[in-house]
């Protein structure tokens, strides 16, 4: 598909509503709408934003051997992945992990949903449906699970922000059966209304949806999967229903700045064709109880255990909004100016600022005694450097002309709402 520009079914809507468009992973996608990326970023922290994410790819894996195939290919142990007790995944739950090649390099990251005992949904990045479906097919071992790449057939939109549940409630036929008690990384419903074995979730207009309490912003919200033909009407209905809550459409720029501030990786940029070690996302692996080995064998596991990789991927935040573009012509130095690595992501989280050195966000300002906090934003992202650095240590990002001092962090944006109990959000 290289060279071919793809469009989501909402493309005409985006263009008609004044979006600035750009190509991302071969899809022509909205970067921001007339409100601007800053207003969109802030809306997701204080109210809600709606994202067209139907460029992402859905694959289903079904049949009696579906689970064993995923166990071989996916980094998370589906038999021991939920909570501190390491319970097996169950119908209605989903987990984040990665697909590795035999060298332990990342092919893509994914969320795997268990729909029924024999049916799993795998959600990967834009343009990766074919690649991951082929990877799964190539790793069958005398089993015959059905692997179906539903790229451009299943649509997805994400409603993210503290008002998301209150907006969604108004669109559901039976909100009381869906929302109360719904935990982080759980889901209900199915996207085509046909699948047996899972209770359907239906919107007032009859659309079958899979409602997943997940997202890519670090904030409370949902990803909604549905038949591609239902995307435009549901998008418009949601925006209409969300008007009273100041719901606004949001583009990829806000999505990127929100996820960076939340410490989430972008596949093929922050993780990719290098070993999946020494990074902030190792929870995606099937660690055993001691955290020294793995609780199952999977593709790439042995390479990771043998890995001699000496480079570390670390989150950082700056002291003001200034950035250095992450590109081939920029690099990272220590405070003495010695080159130590490269910049993977560098963006501005516009909801945060420094108060006496500490980072506060518009969500935590009042508690920090800064009621009139008007953030100018802080640069943030990820670097890959040749040594382990502790949180609080400073490094310099440079393009050879400009030099920006940033701080290694464990967390970037404080007060994120993604894990907040549903009862507080309804």
């Amino acid at each position: 598909m290289e060279g071919e520009t793809r469009k989501t079914v909402l493309h005409a809507w985006h263009a008609a509503h004044g979006a600035n468009m750009a190509i991302f992973a071969s899809y022509d996608m909205p970067l921001w709408y007339p409100a601007g990326a800053r207003a969109e970023h802030l809306a997701v922290l204080s109210r809600a934003g709606l994202f067209d994410t139907s460029h992402m790819a859905v694959i289903t894996v079904s049949g009696r051997s579906a689970r064993s195939l995923l166990q071989r290919c996916f980094s998370k142990d589906l038999d021991a992945c939920l909570g501190p007790g390491r319970a097996p995944i169950a119908a209605g739950r989903c987990v984040y992990g990665v697909f590795l090649d035999i060298r332990g390099h990342v092919i893509d990251d994914a969320i795997v949903y268990q729909v029924t005992e024999d049916l799993y949904m795998v959600v990967v990045n834009a343009g990766m449906g074919g690649t991951i479906a082929a990877h799964l097919a190539a790793n069958r071992q005398g089993e015959d699970p059905a692997i179906t790449d539903l790229t451009d057939k299943v649509g997805k939109m994400d409603i993210q922000g503290p008002a998301s549940a209150r907006i969604l409630r108004g669109l559901l036929q039976d909100p009381e059966a869906v929302l109360p008690g719904m935990g982080y990384f759980s889901f209900k419903g199915w996207f085509d209304g046909k699948e047996a074995g899972i209770a359907p979730v239906t919107l007032l207009d009859g659309t079958s949806v899979l409602v997943s309490r997940t997202g890519y912003t670090g904030e409370f919200g949902f990803e909604l999967y549905m038949d591609i033909a239902r995307m435009v009407p549901v998008w418009e209905t949601l925006l209409e229903a969300g008007r009273a809550f100041d719901l606004i459409p949001c583009g990829l720029a806000a999505r990127d700045s929100l996820r960076a501030g939340a410490g989430l990786p972008l596949s093929h940029q922050d993780i990719g064709h290098w070993p999946f070690v020494h990074n902030p996302w190792l929870f995606a692996l099937a660690w055993d109880k001691d955290g020294k080995g793995f609780s199952k064998d999977f593709i790439g596991a042995e390479a990771l255990l043998q890995c001699r990789e000496h480079r570390y991927t670390l989150p950082f935040a700056g002291f003001d909004p200034r950035k250095i573009n992450a590109c081939e012509d920029s690099w990272v130095t220590d405070m003495q100016g010695i080159r130590i690595g490269s910049i993977l992501t560098c963006t501005t989280d516009m909801a945060i600022g420094r108060a006496e050195g500490d980072i506060i966000s518009i969500a935590t300002a009042e508690a920090a005694g800064k009621k009139d906090f008007a953030p100018r934003g802080l640069s943030c992202g990820f670097v890959r450097v040749e040594m382990s650095l502790a949180a609080g240590e400073t490094i310099i990002l440079t393009d050879g002309k400009r030099r920006i001092t940033v701080e290694i962090r464990e967390e970037i944006r404080p007060g994120r709402t993604a894990r907040r109990a549903m009862a507080r959000m309804l």
Binding site: G18, W32, A37, R38, A253, T348
Partner: protein, 131 residues
Amino acid sequence: MKEINELNLPDGLRYTRDHEWVKIMGDAAIVGISDYAQDQLGDIVYVEMPEVGDEFKQGEEFGTLESVKAVSETYLPLTGEIIEINEALADAPELVNKDPYENWIVRIRPADLSELDSLLTVDEYLDLLNG
């Protein structure tokens, strides 16, 4: 995104191929970025300025504009000395988005006004945008 015919491109300014504008005011000139540039950049979150007294050649980088997505260099349309920077942009860089002509970035003393001939008129700039 603004359509070309929705852009505010005042007459009487000279434009560069890098989307700056310059307006001569007596023996000084003010410099900013065009409506097209601010629309393409999106929300501007930081404006990096030169120092008063700095001198630049025509086309030389004199600062940067940071949008949410990226850092973009700004180039001086005319050889000259920086005689004032727009201090208001330090606390409110979004002013450039609100009105990119009212909110100039630097004031300069041009060294050679004949350089104006190498800059684009509004019609030539429109031709450039229309590709």
